[in-house]
């Protein structure tokens, strides 16, 4: 197991390098001079020139790239002028908020999606199955930014039950904090929840029809144990695969959800930075999210192996 993790960590290096190169190329392609765009039309020529020098824009592209990689290796993501703060500082401040939102969404998705899928499989071809499948079909097609707005319209504007925007402070107590979290987390949870329900159902149906489940039942083992212990454990592998894929959805969806609910996380930071044309922040946050995403995928791969030791992830070089 140790050597497997080590091998995967080494495999990460070329991917991370490619991520770095892609972000470098994209940010260098932004039209206009980043320094003058960042400082705005009123800036003096001297200020622009100073910023150009500070950002290293007057150096050649290869030497810009070398200092960029060197900075990355030291976790130096640059300094933001519009926020008057280092980018890493901004990330340290905002990233935990995105994690809270994403984890809350994942929790909702797992707690509702997986049992719904199991229930649908148990009651296959009944009205319960159809309802669960219809809801999850709509769920996977949901534009979550629209759902977010509709949730605000219904629960905040019409009913006045939950706050429409912002993040609560734990000092004010747990309930106000959760109240702020509920709507954005639910909006973000929609697609993973529906996907979990669908994959759990199909995976459970496949397992339930197998002989060992029939044997377990004929031995008189209680139904909840047959489903919970024997069937679900074997249905878990495809669910975990989907879990890995959903993390990309959560991180991407956070960009949109945070914008709608003014949630002070990474997604909102990126959208605001694009608005302010603060390319240093855009570059730093995008590369950070990509790194995190790659790392989470690695963790999911390891979990995959823990759950199902027969899976040989090394044979295909870790590609899924």
């Amino acid at each position: 197991m140790g050597s497997f993790i080590l091998k995967r960590l080494i495999n990460l290096i070329p991917t991370l390098l490619v991520v770095g190169i892609i972000v470098f190329i994209i940010t260098r392609m932004i039209p206009g001079d980043p320094a003058s765009v960042m400082l705005g039309p009123q800036a003096s020529v001297e200020d622009v020139e100073n910023l150009r020098e500070e950002l290293g824009l007057n150096k050649s592209i290869p030497s810009q790239f070398i200092s960029y990689v060197a900075d990355l290796a030291q976790l130096n993501l640059g300094y933001s002028y519009s926020y008057s703060e280092s980018v890493i500082g901004l990330i340290i401040e905002r990233f935990p908020n995105t994690v809270i939102l994403a984890l809350a969404a994942l929790l909702i998705a797992v707690v509702i999606g997986i049992p719904a899928g199991i229930l649908a499989a148990r009651k296959q071809n009944t009205i319960i199955d159809y309802v669960v499948m219809l809801i999850s079909l709509v769920g996977v097609s949901m534009p979550i930014f629209w759902l977010g707005i509709m949730l605000v319209l219904f629960f905040s504007v019409n009913l006045g039950w939950l706050p429409a925007t912002g993040m609560g402070n734990l000092d004010d107590g747990l309930w106000p904090y959760i109240k702020h979290l509920l709507l954005p987390a639910f909006a973000l949870a929609t697609i993973p929840m529906a996907t979990f329900a669908r994959i759990t159902r199909s995976s459970m149906l496949e397992v339930i029809s197998q002989d060992y489940i029939k044997t377990a039942r004929s031995k008189g083992i209680k139904e909840y144990l047959v489903i919970g212990k024997h069937a679900f454990k074997n249905a878990l592998t495809p669910i975990l695969t989907v879990l890995g894929m959903q993390i990309s959805n959560l991180l991407g969806g956070a960009v949109l959800t945070e914008t709608i609910f003014s949630w002070p996380g990474m997604g909102r930071l990126i959208v605001d930075a694009i608005d302010k044309r603060d390319f240093v922040v855009v570059q730093g946050t995008v590369i950070f999210i990509a790194f995190i995403f790659v790392l989470i995928n690695l963790i999911v791969d390891v979990l995959y192996k823990v759950v199902n030791p027969k899976v040989n992830l090394e044979s295909d070089g870790g590609k899924k």
């Binding site: 991917t15 892609i22 039209p31 629209w146 707005i149 855009v282 999210i289």
Partner: protein, 288 residues
């Protein structure tokens, strides 16, 4: 030649028959067909020019003065704007996926067929692109490209490339080892001929399924980009930009946000249903 065409027609007929047997897929097909008709005949269906502003007629409620769904903040007819928005969504959905499919397929074919260092370079680059959440990659590309229809297509198209490349490479690897490829090769067929006449046709079924599913994603992405103000430029009507305006006037005029979102949801749902049906009909083992 005539025989081939007949066979092709037969194949299409069985595919359509299989699709129509599946109720959900039929619903999907109906929705997609309807949306396509609306997109093509938008000028005939719309009751007003989509960008025509009328002073003093802002935020009319539904069914007033011949405005079926009322008017927006500029007094423009909401129904007509939604009808025209269908065009943007369908065009971006199809064009962005075609863009991603063409480049992704080419890269996947080359990587899978030739293997070696070329394969490593191409696939590591694809892994790198895959490390970005889809919408984040599209957003970042839009900041470089700037607003506009073509740029939206290119940005979403680029974000679609790695998915197609991976899919096609996987298919090529499994087809490449088949005996008929070896035979064709020993008969003196060129690489280009083998790739395009023998390998590519074997990738078509999963490509069609994946392409259909990706169209749904592309439509949502366009709406998301326009919603963030990075996509289609005003005053062009796009479901995403109508939703963006609607969000600002949620209390005053909830129908702007409500109906634009329903249009997105309905279209994406239709395409997903059709995609599920196509998968079951063409390639039941495939998991997209």
């Amino acid at each position: 030649m005539a025989q081939v065409i007949v066979n092709d027609n037969k194949k299409q007929n069985t595919l359509l028959r299989k699709l129509l047997k599946n109720k959900l897929a039929t619903i999907g097909l109906i929705i997609v067909t309807l949306m396509t008709i609306v997109a093509i005949f938008a000028p005939l269906i719309a009751t007003h020019p989509p960008n025509e502003m009328t002073v003093g007629k802002s935020f009319l409620p539904m069914n007033t003065d011949g405005h079926l769904l009322g008017t927006d903040n500029y007094g423009r007819d909401l129904f007509s704007r939604l009808v025209y928005g269908t065009r943007i969504s369908m065009v971006v959905g199809v064009a962005a996926v075609l863009f991603g499919a063409v480049f992704g397929t080419l890269l996947g074919l080359v990587a899978g067929y030739f293997g070696g260092r070329l394969d490593s370079i191409i696939m590591r680059t694809m892994d790198g692109l895959f490390a970005f959440p889809f919408i984040l990659l599209a957003i970042t590309l839009m900041t470089v490209l700037g607003q506009g229809l073509v740029n939206v297509i290119v940005a979403i198209g680029i974000a679609n490339i790695p998915g197609f490349a991976r899919l096609v490479r996987g298919q090529v690897l499994s087809v490449k080892e088949e005996e008929f490829i070896e035979v064709t090769h020993s008969l003196g067929a060129t690489h280009t001929r083998i790739i395009f006449s023998h390998i590519l046709p074997n990738c078509l079924a999963p490509l069609i399924v994946y392409g259909t599913m990706s169209t749904a994603g592309a439509i949502i992405s366009e709406a998301a980009l326009s919603f963030l103000g990075l996509g289609i430029q005003p005053p062009t009507a796009s479901w995403g930009s109508i939703l963006k305006d609607g969000k600002d006037f949620l209390v005053l005029n909830p129908q702007m946000a409500t109906f634009s979102g329903i249009c997105i949801l309905l279209t994406v749902l239709g395409i997903n249903l059709l995609g599920d049906g196509l998968r079951d009909a063409l390639d039941p083992k495939m998991k997209v």
